[in-house]
């Protein structure tokens, strides 16, 4: 991320920050984040994936432009977690492990 103050611990510094260009399959997307009052106040699109021939064709299809973002760690209380598990070979294998643990 360009601009000063990239990684924030508790507050964002006011100002606008231009994000890096992200390839979203059929073009580039670049956003500008506007920080106000220490919080993300607005997001402006600097580049839409419509400035290329192929992306224009795709934009004319029914498929809307899907939003992309860099993943970011969240500090939050949750009731459960969804993700790939130890043996993605199958539910039943991780089930075997769980049952083995439960009977000990």
């Amino acid at each position: 991320m360009n601009g000063s103050g990239s990684t924030m611990m508790s507050k964002y510094r006011n100002g606008s920050y231009t994000g890096s260009i992200v390839d979203v399959y059929y073009g580039n997307l670049q956003v500008q984040a506007i920080i106000s009052g220490g919080k993300l106040a607005d997001v402006q699109f600097m580049q839409y994936p419509s400035d290329r021939q192929t992306s224009l064709r795709k934009s004319q299809n029914a498929m809307p432009i899907l939003k992309s973002e860099a993943i970011a760690s969240q500090n939050a209380q949750v009731d459960a977690v969804s993700g790939a598990t130890e043996t993605s070979k199958g539910f039943v294998q991780s089930l075997s492990n769980a049952l083995a643990q439960a009977t000990n």
């Binding site: 990239s6 969240q74 199958g90 769980a98």
Partner: protein, 263 residues
């Protein structure tokens, strides 16, 4: 923990502790049954009987026949990107059995009169009603690059969610339409559906499509998705954000406003 069952005690109904414990026991008993029947790692399972040629699909139990029927239906609905025949030429229905079994377990609880519960097995989840705080169930999505972290929080009240991923060491998912091709451009795909069975079968199929999988989910009515590529860039379907709990939004329980952005 590979399996979690949470049942919220309701104040009005006669759902006392003993009833809840008995219900949880029934759920685990049901999962043991599913394991015994569908595990390709068990020599004594019915699916292994079929794979070894000791019996045929035609002679199999009604339930196994139903699973094969559902698998075939899913294969057609996904243009062949869902297929229970694996690279070794073995029938492995785990990509559909998981969601199906969790939904059955949830319906078992529903049948017992419970209205607020959350059943999680192998990272796939079915929700109903509210959590113990009276809010929608808060589900975190794991960071594929650091599994102790969460990179998104969604809130569900009756929907199901499933995540397909290849970030577990040594595990790969292959394109059933080209078995030599391991899917490598994406590492995680989370699908929210009307129930966990729908979410699971489509997450399994869409992952095999690679980056285009999120477009497939976008085109399906009733499904929303969040895909993460190998560079840590996520793309979401157009209706996904209505499920997202924003960190820093008021009225939600969270630990502070700290956000470490990965750029």
């Amino acid at each position: 923990m590979p399996i979690t069952v949470e049942i919220v005690e309701s104040s009005h109904a006669s759902n006392g502790r003993a009833k809840i414990q008995s219900a949880i026991d029934k759920v685990f008993e049901y999962f043991r049954y599913v394991d015994g029947k569908y595990s390709v790692y068990k020599e004594s399972s019915e699916i292994t009987d079929i794979n070894r040629g000791r019996t045929s699909i035609v002679k199999a139990s009604a339930e196994i026949k139903e699973i094969f029927k559902l698998a075939e239906k899913t294969k057609q609905e996904t243009g062949g990107y869902f297929d229970i025949v694996n690279r070794q030429g073995i029938y492995d229905p785990s990509g559909i059995v998981k969601g199906w079994a969790i939904l059955n377990a949830a319906n078992l609880l529903k049948g017992l009169g419970f209205t607020d519960y959350c059943v999680e097995a192998g990272g796939d989840i079915q929700t109903a009603g509210s959590n113990s705080k009276g809010q929608k169930w808060r589900i975190g999505i794991k960071n594929p690059f650091k599994q102790s972290e969460i990179i998104k929080v969604i809130q569900l009240g009756g929907e199901g969610v499933a995540t397909s991923g290849t970030y577990i060491r040594g595990q790969h998912i292959y394109n059933p339409k080209n078995m030599a091709e391991a899917i490598e451009d994406i590492v995680s795909l989370t699908v929210i559906g009307p129930n966990v069975y729908e979410a699971d079968r489509f997450a399994t199929a869409a992952f095999a499509m690679g980056k285009k999988g999120i477009e497939f989910i976008e085109r399906q009515e009733g499904l929303e998705g969040y895909i993460i590529d190998k560079k840590g860039i996520a793309t979401m379907t157009s209706g996904f954000e209505r499920y997202v709990v924003r960190s820093g939004s008021p009225g939600h329980s969270y630990f502070g406003l700290r956000a470490l952005a990965l750029f």
